[in-house]
């Protein structure tokens, strides 16, 4: 099984590295946020009460990394292309396990996301006023890996369910925007800043808790109640997402 996952991972990463430009295009958005939005945040954070502790970069950087993690859902487009050009079917007639096909692909997405996250982090650390403890950075990278596994699995499962880009891309965009806004990606949704109803709604969004935990890691707050909810939510989501993906891959004709 591990051999099969490795082989699929090798295949996927070879394809990805044939066109490495995409990996950089993927981090263009967070970098633009850092350059064009970060400086605004700096003033706002210091002059507005209600923000969580830490400077603008400690609030913004982890959120931007999780934003690109959410975009891992676009993995689904790749599987639709493979569905159409027949390469998925060819792999499905080999003895390779369906689960290995999924996990190899998901692992490639997660690793790719990991490197993108490292790049964004390095830029934020070197070019901007971000200072984060080493342990916190490591923890946040573990969170990113898990996010990548979760969201690319969801992307594959959803795409195989919808079966066409015309359905998949609009569906994804429709879901992503409210999820992003409600996670407090740009401006944290705290009791001090948001009206009560908005705060309540944001708490229902599982990603809010993950963003909160990641921000806590960045400011070196390893207290149990800052990290616990987010980490539990993430692990549960990862398990559900991989299960859903595996079910979809195992279904005939997927």
């Amino acid at each position: 099984m591990l051999r099969e996952i490795w082989l699929v991972f090798r295949r996927e990463s070879t394809i990805a590295l044939r066109n490495p430009a995409w990996i950089f295009i993927g981090i263009l958005q967070p970098i633009l946020y850092l350059v064009l939005f970060g400086p605004l945040m700096e003033r706002i954070v210091t002059s507005t009460p209600g923000f969580p502790p830490g400077n603008a970069w400690v609030i913004l950087t982890p959120a931007l990394i999780l934003q690109i993690a959410l975009f891992s859902m676009f993995s689904g487009i790749g599987i639709l292309v493979e569905l159409r050009n027949g390469s998925l079917e060819r792999l499905r007639v080999t003895p390779v396990r369906r689960l290995a096909l999924l996990l190899g692909k998901v692992l490639n997405n997660a690793v790719q996301l990991f490197f993108q996250a490292v790049l964004v982090l390095v830029i934020a650390l070197l070019a901007f006023d971000l200072s984060a403890p080493f342990a916190g950075v490591v923890l946040s990278l573990v969170i990113v890996l898990l996010m990548g596994i979760t969201l690319s699995s969801v992307g594959y499962a959803a795409a195989l369910m919808l079966r066409s880009e015309e359905a998949f891309i609009p569906a994804l965009n429709t879901i992503l925007l409210p999820v992003l806004l409600l996670s407090g990606i740009l401006i944290p949704i705290t009791t001090g800043l948001a009206p009560g109803w908005l705060y309540t709604v944001s708490r229902i969004n599982p990603f809010t808790h993950i963003v909160d935990a990641d921000r806590a890691a960045f400011r070196g707050d390893y207290a149990l109640d800052s990290l616990f909810t987010g980490v539990v939510v993430l692990v549960v989501m990862a398990a559900l997402a991989v299960f859903w993906g595996a079910r979809t891959f195992q279904r005939e004709n997927a």
Binding site: R11, R18, G86, E89, T94, P95
Partner: protein
């Protein structure tokens, strides 16, 4: 090599049940090159997808390459090669990368996969393409790569779905050569679907004809043609002699389906070549000058027409009711 009994598959689509394949029995012996012939939507691809473990039958059972389809699909996958309609290559990979990975997916070690890749690429005349990115290959080259990918693990049984569709005549002839060599030089059993009569005729030891989800005929190409009511004879005579000629033709033993049209008399009989001298003598005796004569062996298209009441070419262009299930299957199976 293949033994299927009552293999059937229904699809459900918007509350409607469509029987794409209604119970197919088929046997393929080791070393045979069998063609599965039928119009689009007749159930060819659905049957093939069931035999290759891509689709679970809704009824029936089959043994493929010695393994039970339902109980040991992975065992079947290990033992068969599959060349899908339109292939299944990864456009971004290099030929050599795709080949070696494919071998490794079948459990070969890296050196074994590499050696096998080199052998196969030489055999299929694509040896010099190993470093090319697949999307830059020509149609014929890509098709040969598809075939090579299906052969990496040296399967005893290879399925090919419409192997020559979309190829230019030259690439097509070339591919046929490679398919024949599979059977002749490598003792591989080949099961291919096609809706080209000339392909089935040129390539296959035996043909199964499927229409509306059931097998309607099987046999060697010449056996099938013999099922059609014999050769077609066409005699050209001056207009004023047409009626007399038709009369004479009617007296030839076993002649039937006699028709006349603008100075030609047509009829069918089991052996046109042996009956012809007798006919000529009779016409000579009646003093009828003959302007032309033609004996035509029946074609597979005649067979198809006799079996299904429509020409294969018509069946293709007409939006047959059976065409729907094959297109819908992907959407419906997930529901």
């Amino acid at each position: 090599m293949i033994e299927a009994r009552g293999l059937a598959r229904t699809f459900r689509s918007r509350g409607r049940t469509v029987e794409a394949v209604r119970g197919v029995d088929l046997d393929v012996a080791p070393g045979e090159l069998v063609g599965f012939l039928g119009p689009n939507g007749a159930g060819k691809t659905t049957t093939l997808r069931m035999l290759t473990t891509l689709l679970r039958p809704t009824a029936g059972r089959a043994t493929v390459a010695g393994r039970d389809l339902a109980e040991d699909p992975v065992g079947v996958r290990r033992r068969i090669g599959y060349v899908a309609q339109g292939g299944g290559t990864t456009p971004e990979l290099k030929v050599i990368e795709e080949m070696v990975l494919q071998g490794r997916f079948y459990g070969l070690s890296k050196p074994d996969a590499t050696r096998r890749t080199a052998d196969l690429m030489k055999r299929l005349d694509i040896a010099d393409l190993d470093d090319r990115v697949i999307k830059t290959l020509s149609g014929g080259q890509r098709r040969r790569l598809d075939v090579a990918l299906g052969l990496l693990h040296d399967p005893r049984l290879v399925f090919m779905d419409e192997p020559s569709t979309g190829l230019d005549p030259q690439s097509r002839a070339n591919l046929w050569g490679h398919i024949r060599a599979l059977r002749d030089d490598h003792d591989t059993t080949v099961f291919l679907t096609t809706h080209y009569l000339d392909e089935a005729d040129a390539l296959c030891d035996r043909i199964l004809v499927i229409d509306h989800g059931v097998i309607v005929a099987e046999g060697t190409p010449s056996e099938l043609k013999a099922q059609v009511s014999g050769d077609r004879v066409e005699v050209g005579v001056p207009d004023q002699h047409v009626a007399t000629t038709a009369e004479i033709a009617g007296k030839v033993p076993d002649a039937h389906e006699i028709s006349t049209l603008d100075g030609t008399v047509r009829f069918r009989l089991p052996r046109g070549d042996t009956a012809l001298p007798e006919l000529l003598r009779a016409m000579d005796a009646a003093g009828i000058p003959m302007t032309s004569v033609q004996v035509q062996r029946p074609t597979l298209d005649d067979v198809f027409l006799t079996l299904t009441g429509r020409s294969l070419r018509d069946a293709e262009t007409e939006p047959a009711p059976q065409a729907a299930p094959e297109k819908e299957k992907e959407a419906t199976d997930v529901a």
